[in-house]
C-alpha cells in the first residue's frame, strides 16, 4: 500500500500539469471577456487597451508559462517569506498572480475568503455527514419502518428541491416574518466574546441548515443502499449464528463493509467545500470561495479562475487518493499492486 501511495503521488504531478493546461486552454477558448461587464459608454478602443494592459495581447503559450511560473515558484516563495520573515532573492520584482477584476494578488483573495467558507460550507458538510450516517444505518436496519419512510421522504425532497428555493423560503420565513435570523451574512464579524459568538451562530444557522440538508440527503441514500446490500450477505448470517451481539454485527461488520461507497462520496464532496456552494453563498451573501469563483467566471477573471480551479483539482486528486487508500484499510482484500 505504501509503495502504491508513493507511486500515485508521483503520478499526480504529470496529471495535475495536464489538468492545469486543459483548464487554461478551456478558459482561453471560452468566449466571455473581462471587459464584458463594463458600461457600453466605454468605447472599443479603450477596451482593447484594457485587455492589453491585462496581458491578453500576449500569445497563449507565453501566458500559460507565466502562470505556471507564478503559481509554482513565486507564490510559494511569497508564502515562505510571509511565514518565516526571510527575504529570498529580489522579492520586490517578483510578479504575483494578479486578479484582473480587483488587480490584487489572487492568493490574498483566497486567504480572505477561507474563514467564512470553512465556517459555513465546511461545517454544513460535517453536519451533513454526522446526520446522514446514523439515519442511513437505522433506515437500512429497519427497512420500510416509519423511520425509514420519513427519512427517505425528507432526503428525497431535500435533494430534489434546489437550494435556490429552500434558501429563499427560509429567508422569507425566518428573516422576514419571524425576524429570528439575519438574511445577510456579515463577513466583518469578529468572534471576540460570547455576544459576537452568538451573533456568528445566528448568522450561520440558515445557510448551514440549507446546505446540511442537501449534503445529508445525498450521503444518507448511499449509506442506506450500501447497508442493505451488506445486511443480506452470508457473513452477517454467519456472525449472527455464532451469537455475535446484534450491535456488533451492525456497527462493526456491516457498517465497515458498507463504507466503501460512502467514503467515495465523502471524498468527492470534501474538495467541493473548497469550491464553495455558489448558490447558497449568493443567497445569504456569505461571499466565500464559491462567490469568488462565480464572480470571477462571470467577469472572465482568468488568473483567479485558473488558480482557484487548479487548487480545486489538487484537492480532488488528493482526496481521491485518500479514498483509494481508505478502501484498502476498510477491506484488506482490495489490493492495488
Amino acid at each position: 500500500m505504501f509503495t502504491y501511495t508513493l507511486r500515485r503521488l508521483f503520478f499526480a504531478i504529470p496529471t495535475l500539469l495536464v489538468i492545469s493546461f486543459v483548464i487554461f486552454a478551456l478558459l482561453d477558448l471560452a468566449p466571455n471577456d473581462p471587459t464584458g461587464d463594463l458600461p457600453l459608454t466605454i468605447p472599443p478602443e479603450v477596451r482593447e487597451q484594457i485587455k492589453a494592459s491585462l496581458g491578453l495581447d500576449q500569445p497563449f503559450f507565453f501566458r500559460y508559462m507565466a502562470w505556471l511560473h507564478q503559481f509554482f515558484i513565486n507564490e510559494p516563495l511569497n508564502i515562505l517569506e510571509a511565514l518565516t520573515g526571510w527575504h529570498i532573492g529580489d522579492d520586490q520584482d517578483r510578479v504575483r498572480i494578479l486578479s484582473w477584476a480587483t488587480r490584487s494578488p489572487v492568493v490574498d483573495l483566497i486567504v480572505q475568503r477561507l474563514p467564512q467558507t470553512l465556517w459555513v460550507i465546511g461545517l454544513a458538510y460535517v453536519f451533513g455527514i454526522l446526520i446522514a450516517i446514523p439515519i442511513g444505518v437505522v433506515s437500512a436496519y429497519k427497512q420500510y419502518s416509519i423511520f425509514d419512510q420519513i427519512g427517505t421522504f425528507i432526503s428525497m425532497v431535500g435533494y430534489s428541491v434546489p437550494t435556490f428555493f429552500t434558501g429563499v423560503v427560509l429567508i422569507v420565513v425566518f428573516s422576514s416574518y419571524l425576524q429570528w435570523f439575519p438574511s445577510v451574512y456579515d463577513t466583518n464579524l469578529q468572534v471576540t466574546g460570547f455576544e459576537s459568538f452568538f451573533a456568528q451562530m445566528r448568522q450561520m444557522v440558515l445557510p448551514v441548515a440549507v446546505l446540511a440538508l442537501y449534503n445529508a440527503s445525498q450521503i444518507t441514500r448511499f449509506v442506506r443502499a450500501s447497508m442493505l446490500d451488506n445486511l443480506h450477505q452470508d457473513y452477517v448470517r454467519t456472525a449472527r449464528a455464532k451469537g455475535v451481539k446484534e450491535k456488533t454485527v451492525l456497527l462493526v461488520h456491516v457498517l465497515r463493509n458498507s463504507l466503501i461507497p460512502v467514503v467515495t462520496v465523502i471524498a468527492l464532496g470534501v474538495p467541493t467545500i473548497f469550491s464553495g456552494a455558489i448558490i447558497t453563498e449568493q443567497i445569504f451573501r456569505v461571499n466565500g470561495l464559491g462567490q469568488l469563483l462565480i464572480t470571477a467566471i462571470q467577469g472572465a477573471d482568468i488568473p483567479l479562475v485558473q488558480t482557484l480551479t487548479f487548487i480545486f483539482a489538487v484537492l480532488i486528486v488528493l482526496f481521491n487518493l485518500i479514498a483509494d487508500v481508505l478502501y484498502g484499510i476498510l477491506d484488506p482484500r482490495i489490493r492495488y499492486d
Binding site: P31, I42, L54, S104, P105, R285
Partner: protein, 569 residues
C-alpha cells in the same frame, strides 16, 4: 409617467429638503449600511470602469464638478463652472480654466492642489495603464497647473462641449502623492492604493474586502465640518437584486440598496412591510431593439451580418421596420418588467429635456396592430398557412437575441406575442451577459457581431451632451471582421445625410442649435427604423424610510450626495 411615480418622486424631494435642515453634527448617526448586489472589485474607477466601482468610489474621491439630480453641472472642488460667458472657456473653444477651491484638504490632511489634477490626467493617459476612463480625456492635448489653484485644460481641436475631463463620477481626482509610483504598467500592482484611495470626499476607506464588503469612516478633513452625518458606512456586495430589495424593504437590515432590477409587483409586495421606499431617476438609458440592416443568414458564413452580405432580405423593407415598431405596446412592457423604473419612449436620446424629441410620439406610443397589418398587406407580405407573413419566399421569421436577464426574457416573450399578431414570428435566444457584451471576436453571440435579425439591450451616454453618442450611427462605424467587430453602429445603419448632419453638429457651438440638430438626428434614426426604442430606463434603488437626504441622480453617481444623508430621529 404615472401618478404613483409622480407622487413618489414628489414625496422624496420633500423629505430630502427637510433632511438637510435637520442636519446635526458629523458622525452623529451611526453606521450607514449600503447594499450593492454586484460586489465591488476595486475602488479605483480608472482601473475598472464598472458602474459599481464608479459609484462606490464616489464616496471617497470626487471630480472637479459633478451633475446634480437635474443634470446640471455643480462645482465640487472648484469655485465655479467655467463657461464662455465667465471667461472660463476660451472663445476659440480650444481651452478651459478651472479655479480650485483653496481650502480643500485630502483626507490625510495634505492640501489639494492643481498638481493633483494634472497628475490625474497623466495617470489615466499613461501608455500601458489600461485606464478604463480614457475616453473622458479624449481630445485633451494638455493639462497644466497655472498656479496652486488654477488648472488649464487645452484641447487638440475645438470642443463645443468641454465638460468631460474631471467632470462626473467617471473622472475623479486622485492624489498625486499616493499614486505617483503607480503610473502606466505599474498601476495594477499598487493594491493598497487601488483599494484605499485617499480622497476629498465625505468618507475614508477603512477596510476593503474585494468583491465582498467595504468599511468606511467619516473623513475628518471633509470640507463641511458638519458632514457626513454618519460616523461609518458599510457597503456590502453580492447576492441578487430581489434579496437586496428584501433586505431593505422587508427585513430592514440595510439602509440603501442599489439597482432594484426586480419585477415591479414583487417590489410592491415587499413595500407593504413599510420599512422602505423606492427612489427613481431618469438618465439617458434606452432599452432598444436593434434591427439588422444586413443579411444575417448563417449560410453566408464569414460574410454574415456584414455590409458584404448585402441588405437584409426582409428588414430592408421600411414597411416591415415600421410595422414591427407599431405592433409593440410599450406601456405593457414597462408595466411587466420595469414599473417605476421605466417609461415608454420612441427616442434613442430620451433626455435631458432640451434634446428629447417628441416628434414621433404620436404614432409610436400607441400600439396599432390594425395599422401594422395593413402596412404589411400593402407592402405585399401575405400571411401563409402557419400565420407567418412571407413575400417571394422570404418569411418574416426573426431570430431575436439579447443578454440573459429575467426582465429581458419577459420582454422578449411579450414582443414575440405582439409580433405574432401581425404575422411575424420570432425565435428567442439569450446569451450570458459577459459573452453578449464581451466582444470576443471568436464568439457568435456578441452584440457587435449581431448574428441575429433583431437584438435587444440598453445603451446610454455619459453626461448630458449626445454628440459623441449620435456619432455612433455613422457609416464608417459599422462593425466588420476588418475592424475586429469593434464599430458601434450595431444596426449597420448607413445614411450619408445622417453622416453630414453629425459633422454639422460637431462644428456647432450654440446650444439651441445643437439641441435642434440632436433632435433631428434622433428622429432620423427612429423614423428610418435603425432600431425600435422601447423603454426609457431609470435607475431604481431602495432606501429605508429612516434614511433622509437621498436625491436620486441618474447623471452622476447615485451616491453623489452621500455627505448629505442622515438618519431620521
Amino acid at each position: 409617467m404615472n401618478k404613483f411615480k409622480l407622487l413618489l418622486v414628489g414625496t422624496t424631494a420633500a423629505l430630502a429638503s427637510f433632511g438637510s435642515v435637520a442636519h446635526a453634527a458629523r458622525g452623529s448617526d451611526g453606521d450607514l449600511k449600503i447594499l450593492f448586489w454586484q460586489a465591488v472589485s476595486t475602488l479605483n474607477p480608472y482601473l475598472s470602469g464598472g458602474t459599481k466601482e464608479v459609484y462606490s468610489s464616489s464616496m471617497v474621491i470626487e471630480p472637479l464638478a459633478r451633475y446634480n439630480e437635474n443634470g446640471e453641472l455643480v462645482p465640487t472642488l472648484v469655485t465655479e463652472i467655467p463657461t464662455v460667458d465667465n471667461g472660463g472657456v476660451a472663445k476659440d473653444l480650444l481651452s478651459m480654466t478651472w479655479k480650485l477651491k483653496s481650502d480643500v484638504k485630502w483626507s490625510d490632511g495634505s492640501p489639494f492642489t492643481a498638481d493633483d489634477v494634472v497628475f490625474t490626467w497623466k495617470y489615466c493617459t499613461a501608455p500601458d495603464g489600461g485606464c478604463a476612463q480614457k475616453a473622458q480625456y479624449e481630445g485633451v492635448k494638455n493639462v497644466e497647473a497655472i498656479d496652486k489653484s488654477t488648472v488649464k485644460v487645452s484641447f487638440s481641436e475645438q470642443k463645443p462641449y468641454p465638460y468631460s475631463a474631471f467632470v462626473g463620477a467617471q473622472s475623479p481626482i486622485i492624489q498625486a502623492a499616493q499614486f505617483k509610483d503607480c503610473v502606466g504598467a505599474k498601476a495594477p500592482g499598487c493594491t493598497s492604493a487601488n483599494f484605499g484611495p485617499i480622497g476629498t470626499g465625505p468618507f475614508v476607506v477603512k477596510e476593503f474586502k474585494p468583491n465582498d464588503v467595504i468599511t468606511f469612516v467619516a473623513n475628518p478633513n471633509y470640507r463641511d465640518p458638519n458632514k457626513p452625518a454618519f460616523a461609518t458606512a458599510t457597503l456590502k456586495g453580492g447576492g441578487d437584486a430581489a434579496s437586496a430589495a428584501r433586505a431593505v424593504l422587508e427585513t430592514g437590515e440595510y439602509d440603501y440598496a442599489w439597482n432594484m432590477q426586480v419585477e415591479p409587483e414583487v417590489l410592491a409586495t415587499m413595500l407593504k412591510a413599510g420599512k422602505g421606499k423606492l427612489e427613481t431617476a431618469f438618465g439617458t438609458q434606452v432599452e432598444r431593439i436593434n434591427l439588422n440592416w444586413t443579411n444575417a443568414d448563417p449560410k453566408l458564413g464569414d460574410k454574415r451580418s456584414t455590409t458584404a452580405a448585402g441588405p437584409h432580405p426582409s428588414l430592408s423593407d421600411p414597411a416591415v421596420r415600421k410595422a414591427l415598431s407599431m405592433a409593440i405596446d410599450r406601456q405593457v412592457i414597462v408595466d411587466a418588467g420595469y414599473g417605476a423604473a421605466g417609461k415608454p419612449t420612441c427616442n434613442i436620446v430620451p433626455a435631458p429635456a432640451a434634446v428629447a424629441s417628441t416628434k414621433n410620439d404620436a404614432w409610436c406610443f400607441k400600439q396599432d396592430i390594425e395599422g401594422a397589418n395593413k402596412l404589411l398587406d400593402d407592402a405585399g407580405w401575405k400571411k401563409g398557412s402557419d400565420g407567418i407573413r412571407a413575400k417571394n419566399g422570404v418569411k418574416l421569421n426573426f431570430l431575436y437575441s439579447t443578454s440573459t436577464n429575467s426582465v429581458r426574457q419577459a420582454t422578449q416573450e411579450l414582443v414575440k406575442d405582439m409580433w405574432s399578431q401581425i404575422g411575424v414570428g420570432a425565435e428567442l435566444r439569450n446569451a450570458s451577459a459577459s459573452v453578449f457584451f464581451g466582444g470576443d471576436p471568436a464568439s457568435p453571440d456578441t452584440f457587435q457581431k449581431f448574428y441575429a435579425d433583431v437584438e435587444m439591450y440598453t445603451n446610454n451616454f455619459d453626461g448630458t451632451d449626445p454628440e459623441k453618442y449620435l456619432a455612433e450611427w455613422l457609416c464608417d462605424k459599422i462593425p466588420a471582421p476588418a475592424n475586429g467587430w469593434q464599430g458601434q453602429n450595431i444596426p449597420r445603419y448607413c445614411n450619408p445625410a445622417y453622416d453630414k448632419k453629425v459633422a454639422e453638429l460637431s462644428k456647432t457651438a450654440e446650444p439651441a442649435k445643437r439641441h435642434e440638430l440632436s433632435k433631428e438626428l434622433n428622429d432620423m434614426l427612429t423614423e428610418e427604423g435603425a432600431h425600435i426604442p422601447l423603454v426609457h430606463r431609470g435607475s431604481l434603488s431602495a432606501d429605508s424610510v429612516k434614511l433622509e437626504g437621498v436625491k436620486m441622480n441618474a447623471w452622476d453617481s447615485e451616491l453623489w450626495n452621500v455627505a448629505d444623508w442622515s438618519r431620521k430621529k
